[in-house]
């Protein structure tokens, strides 16, 4: 399916999940091997196998909404449910 779209979903308090024909490269253009169809990328910053998620967000109690955040006073329109960033 060459025209399959790539979808990235930030999960609440968890990683980014990427589905679709995506290529990961480091900043020098080197390939970062992707060995599964659905990939979880670290969103808490504390994974020990970045850029991939390794579940460490549980240990550091990472909190983040799934939808786009809009800082107070920021003009950005969103369908935010009001929960916003809840970092502990």
């Amino acid at each position: 399916m060459p025209d399959e779209e790539v979808v990235i979903v930030p999960y609440q308090d968890g990683p980014y999940l990427i589905r679709g024909p995506v290529v990961l490269r480091d900043q020098d253009g080197g390939a970062i091997t992707v060995s599964r169809r659905t990939v979880a990328l670290c969103r808490c910053g504390k994974s020990r196998m970045r850029p991939f998620c390794d579940g460490t967000h549980h240990v550091v109690r990472f909190r983040a909404a799934s939808s786009a955040e809009s800082p107070p006073g920021h003009a950005r329109a969103s369908a935010d449910d009001g929960s916003g960033p809840t970092e502990e």
């Binding site: 968890g14 196998m49 390794d54």
Partner: protein, 351 residues
């Protein structure tokens, strides 16, 4: 040692020795000719031994009852030496199983916390349960202190599930629809190697067992497993085989995946500390990465998604999650208590 190459092997187990009245009654049933369909009610009363069931809170630890229930479920997973394969659907065996299941479910419901009012977000509630879980620190203990024998014991306990990893949850696939079904299949596809038999998680576990000098034959160590270990697997088989409990199965899988990555990294570290290489740690290393993907899918697309489609199942999703945490905690405590007192955590020493 039996080879377990990637083409797969025929599953067949042997009945372990009788442990007490429940296994004895089951074996008597299994030895009888398969009943004719129209005779379902004949002799059903004889299926139950006349023994008291004991304290409900003890039932998850009952070595005999849990083995009988485990073997009832094995009829659905495996051939059993000397047992007619039609026994899988013998009404008498199913009626016997139903007695055990009723007691087991009652016992599990007795040990989980009282249900909260139905949460507005099942996914967020699953995350809260994981955040606030105070389970025994088994994976830390194994990572930093376990010796060779304890690591092997740990693997033997887990073989009750890992050699058929993912199978209990697959029962739910035809019982779900839409996004939750798609989520479950996405996870299961990964569990079964994504089209690569050698990457099936059960095959990776067999490789770990071989590397540790253990027999990876399905069921090889069944007789060594105590009731609490069997109960952790019976829980998922019970949830999986009852459509009524599909919500609980979804919650079970969600928590299973959400509490997997970090402990599995520690178990891999334990094996590295003891000098084992990638062949042996592959199973654990794979789970760190795979379950980091699965946990979000299981919590949100499966658990939360199912509760959105069938809101009346929300309490069951949470129940399944709490049940897993409760039984896993009891199992982990059993291992720690045994090791603290220099005893084997198995029914008898491995050697």
């Amino acid at each position: 040692m039996t080879s377990l190459q990637t083409p797969g092997t025929r599953r067949r187990i042997a009945l372990p020795p009788v442990r007490g009245p429940w296994t004895e009654a089951l074996y008597n049933l299994l030895a009888a000719p398969a009943p004719a369909p129209a005779r379902a009610d004949a002799g059903a009363g004889a299926a139950q031994p006349a023994v008291p069931l004991g304290d409900v809170e003890h039932l998850p630890y009952d070595d005999d009852l849990q083995m009988a229930l485990y073997l009832c479920y094995e009829l659905h997973y495996s051939a059993i030496d000397g047992v007619d394969e039609r026994m899988e659907w013998s009404p008498l065996v199913l009626m016997f199983r139903a007695v055990l299941e009723e007691e087991f479910e009652r016992a599990v419901r007795a040990v989980v916390p009282a249900p909260e009012p139905t949460p507005t977000s099942v996914g967020a509630e699953l995350q809260r349960l994981v955040r606030e879980d105070q389970g025994p620190p088994l994976s830390r203990r194994v990572e930093t202190q376990a010796n060779q024998e304890q690591v092997r014991e740990h693997v033997i306990h887990r073989s009750a599930y890992q050699l058929k990893e993912a199978d209990p949850h697959s029962w739910a696939i035809p019982r779900l629809t839409g996004a939750p079904k798609s989520a479950l299949v996405e996870i299961q596809s990964d569990e079964y190697g994504g089209g690569r038999p050698a990457r099936m998680h059960a095959a990776l576990f067999a490789k770990t067992m071989r590397g540790l000098g253990l027999d990876p034959t399905y069921g090889a160590y069944l007789d060594l497993l105590p009731g609490i270990t069997l109960a952790t697997v019976n829980l998922m088989s019970m949830f999986g085989l009852h459509r009524r409990l599909r919500g609980a199965l979804a919650g079970h899988l969600a928590i299973f995946e959400m509490t997997s990555s970090v402990p599995n990294r520690r178990y891999g570290n334990a094996l590295r500390r003891l000098g084992y290489g990638p062949e042996v740690t592959d199973f654990y290393d794979e789970h760190v990465e795979a379950d980091a993907v699965h946990e979000s899918i299981a919590a949100w697309d499966l658990g939360d998604g199912l509760a959105r489609i069938e809101p009346d199942l929300a309490p069951d999703v949470i129940f399944g999650a709490q049940a897993l945490l409760a039984l896993e905690a009891a199992w982990a405590q059993h291992l720690l208590d045994a090791w603290d007192s220099d005893h084997t955590s198995l029914m008898r020493p491995l050697f």
